[in-house]
């Protein structure tokens, strides 16, 4: 950024000043306060313009991040004094069954919500991409779940999945399937929570895919149609490869979302939400962090979980980046060959 400003700095001040004939004295003296001010203005103003973001980021992003890191090395009770503990909090996490349980839950819930969600979004986007009547309406409609609050959605789904009085068990009853314990059993509970996540985010991802699909040149489809490729074949061989960067983007975003999953299991579980059910069967990392920090009052351990989550995300991000790069490499090869 600084380098791009360099040329202007030398060139412009005299030019502008020479355009003001009323003050010939200052024209002759380039080091006058006014030109100095002007130079400072030119140099500093861009920084002032971008400053608000970076100040806010420093206050609400960077500082908490660093402070959390510092806290994670301490033994801090809520409202108490900090006491240096080194890596003790991390070692305790490593030894804790609850941490590994939460990590596994986060992974499984993430998997069974993200994968169907993105596949469904792809299909939905493909359908929305057709020329159909009322296309605008459908496009807005798929976004409606995203616009509802997590709390409202989770509450409604908690009612639907209620073991005794819920609609879903009632419907299952009509087709002769025994009532499923959606709250107390591990897999049903995780599936129920994933349903909420999937319901909320499918439309959102579908719209992103749709935007990407509309940028795919129509010639490709026409050529493929001439070659006799079916709609499905076109979807697989043209659409998917063309929007691959977008797919990668949604995978990254969804992974981050899944790792931080919090509101849905919390509200779904009601009074048992923070612990993720009586046997911690759907306690995610975020819930564990919350429980450690605000219920147990062990801020140091909660901070350690926060940092582990950050490191996990960076690791996942790195893997996805590497995968994406190797993918792109292949694509270029393919393009070169054809």
């Amino acid at each position: 950024m600084a380098t791009s400003l360099q040329p202007d700095q030398d060139a412009s001040p005299p030019v502008v000043l020479s355009g003001s004939p009323k003050e010939p004295k200052k024209h002759r003296d380039p080091d006058s306060w006014r030109s100095r001010l002007y130079r400072i203005d030119l140099k500093a103003t861009p920084y002032v313009y971008v400053a608000p973001f970076f100040l806010v980021f420093a206050a609400f992003g960077l500082f908490p991040l660093v402070y959390t890191g510092w806290l994670s090395l301490q033994k801090v009770e809520l409202g108490g004094e900090a006491e240096w503990r080194g890596l003790d909090n991390y070692i305790r996490l490593w030894d804790s069954d609850f941490f590994w349980n939460a990590l596994a839950n986060t992974f499984t819930i993430g998997l069974i919500s993200t994968v169907p969600q993105l596949l469904m979004a792809l299909g939905l986007a493909h359908l929305l991409n057709y020329r159909i009547r009322g296309r605008g309406f459908y496009r807005v409609a798929v976004l409606a779940p995203y616009a509802t609050s997590i709390a409202a959605a989770a509450l409604v789904f908690a009612q639907l999945f209620n073991t005794d009085y819920g609609l879903i068990n009632q419907l299952l009853g009509y087709v002769g399937i025994d009532a499923v314990n959606w709250e107390t059993e591990k897999w049903p509970a995780q599936i129920a929570i994933s349903t909420i996540v999937t319901w909320r985010w499918t439309g959102y991802n579908a719209l992103i895919y749709l935007a990407a699909m509309q940028a795919v040149p129509n010639d490709l489809y026409e050529a493929a149609a001439l070659d006799g490729a079916s709609r499905f074949r076109q979807f697989i061989s043209i659409t998917i490869p063309s929007i691959k960067p977008t797919i990668l983007f949604t995978i990254v975003v969804s992974t981050i979302g899944a790792t931080q999953l919090f509101g849905e299991p919390l509200i779904f579980g009601g009074s048992l939400g923070i612990g993720g059910g009586s046997g911690n069967q759907y306690q995610t990392l975020s819930l564990l962090m919350y429980e450690k920090g605000w219920i147990t009052g062990a801020l140091g351990q909660a901070s350690a979980i926060a940092w582990v989550m950050l490191l996990l995300l960076l690791l996942i991000g790195l893997v996805q980046y590497l995968l994406g790069r190797s993918g792109r490499g292949k694509k270029k090869d393919g393009a070169a060959r054809s």
């Binding site: 409202g79 908690a158 107390t184 920090g293």
Partner: protein
């Protein structure tokens, strides 16, 4: 021992302040304190308009809708005062939020209720200084209360941080109609005799009930409720005399665990969680899903509210197998509140014998003052919802038999782990008792030790 290491710790302003922003996000419950308050401490007795906020959980029976309309009465007596109550169903969640707010010193109501399970934590070194000393407050008379009730709310430095509202002498509330259908006696004396002296006899009646029970009903509401009932009848609970946690070796915990596990595994319970936020437990009252519920006096108010008018007159109260005290609460005034002097006056008034008697008549919360317990209106009380049941007599008799157990700082949390993660897990997921016990042990080690 690892557990006891985290007890005494001084607080640091820096940590409190810097975490307060995050705390604000974490808080879920009760009212948040800034708007509308125009008064201040020196307004005591003046004509300045003051809004007092009262934070409660469960059913205290003060409110103007279903309670004893005490707020309306106080507002009439003090025209410059307006009272607002915020109520949370789940006592555990209420306490968690209150603890956070106390530690950060903001967002507190002027009056905050404290459940007896957490009173040792509230009077502990970390929190004692957060409360106004009500022993010296205007209009408060600590000598009016039962000795042990005052002692529970007294800190090491002889501050009385809260005044008792009620105590929890316990009976067993049962559905006469369901008992009749199952071929059990319905007269409260006879029913009491069925299980007098032994919780195992209670389970035996449960088996009998189950054999002939109306479809879709359980004998008892929840195994975790039964656990609380049994341990409430034990002189030795989670902590020893010095307040040190000894739940693992406690005979009281072992007994309560065994009875609750037997009930859960025998299918005698409704697989519910008491005070569940989703209202499943409440719905089960309404839909007559169980025949008995362990019934501290304050539970009668909950039965009235949840079972609703359709089930009026179907409930009766028998004596508990073993005399017990389950729960009972306090009202405290946090120093960080805006109108501490007026709030203390309100607390003194709300907990005075006459008011306690009024609450009892409507909501069943039995007085914690000797005068309140002995008063005619309590002795002869027959709440409308329980026609023909001498509720006042039953509970004031039961109150005489209470021997208070020592309470420790972590009792409330340990109780929650034992019931929510231990018993409930066995009851609803069929986890083996050994595994559940180990899980509770790990939880307590992991979460109570810092």
């Amino acid at each position: 021992m690892r557990i006891s290491t985290g007890v005494a710790r001084r607080r640091s302003r820096a940590v409190t302040l810097s975490t307060s922003g995050l705390l604000a996000l974490g808080l879920v419950l009760t009212g948040c304190g800034s708007d509308g308050d125009s008064g201040s401490d020196d307004a005591a007795g003046g004509d300045k308009q003051i809004t007092l906020r009262v934070g409660t959980f469960g059913s205290f029976g003060f409110d103007n809708k279903t309670g004893a309309k005490l707020y309306a009465e106080y507002e009439k007596l003090n025209p410059n005062i307006k009272i607002e109550e915020t109520n949370v169903a789940d006592g555990q969640k209420y306490w968690d939020a209150l603890k956070l707010r106390l530690s950060q010193g903001s967002g507190l109501a002027d009056v905050q209720a404290i459940e007896v399970g957490y009173i040792a934590e509230a009077t502990g070194d970390a929190m004692a200084s957060k409360w106004v000393d009500l022993g010296k407050a205007e209009g408060a008379d600590t000598s009016a209360f039962l000795d042990w009730k005052v002692k529970q709310a007294t800190t090491r430095n002889d501050q009385v941080i809260a005044l008792g509202t009620d105590i929890g002498p316990m009976g067993i509330c049962y559905r006469k109609d369901l008992f009749e259908k199952a071929g059990l006696p319905t007269d409260r004396e006879q029913v009491g005799q069925l299980w007098a002296g032994d919780w195992n006899k209670f389970l035996e009646q449960g088996e009998k009930y189950k054999a002939k029970a109306p479809a879709d009903t359980a004998f008892h509401d929840s195994a975790s409720g039964l656990f609380n009932a049994v341990i409430s009848s034990e002189p030795d609970q989670y902590s020893d005399e010095s307040g040190k946690l000894h739940w693992e070796g406690s005979p009281g915990v072992a007994k309560a665990w065994d009875v609750a596990v037997k009930a859960a595994q025998g299918g005698l319970t409704g697989k519910l969680r008491q005070f569940d936020e989703k209202g499943t437990w409440n719905a089960a009252f309404k839909n007559s899903k169980f025949a008995t519920v362990a019934c501290p006096s304050w539970m009668t108010g909950i039965i009235k509210d949840q079972a609703g008018p359709a089930n009026k007159g179907k409930w009766d109260i028998a004596q508990a197998p073993v005399p017990a005290n389950w729960g009972g609460s306090f009202l405290g005034v946090p120093k960080a509140g805006k109108n501490t002097a007026e709030a203390a006056k309100l607390v003194a008034w709300l907990t005075a014998p006459e008011q306690q008697a009024k609450v009892f008549a409507v909501n069943g919360n039995i007085p914690s003052t000797t005068a309140g317990l002995a008063s005619e209106s309590v002795q002869n009380a027959q709440p409308e919802y329980f026609p023909g049941v001498p509720v006042g007599k039953i509970y004031s008799d039961a109150a005489q038999k209470i021997t208070p157990a020592p309470i420790g700082r972590y009792d409330g949390q340990v109780k929650t782990f034992l019931t929510d993660n231990g018993i409930l897990d066995i009851e609803t997921r069929g986890t083996s008792p050994d595994k559940a016990w180990n899980n509770v042990k790990k939880l307590i080690e992991d979460k109570i030790d810092q």
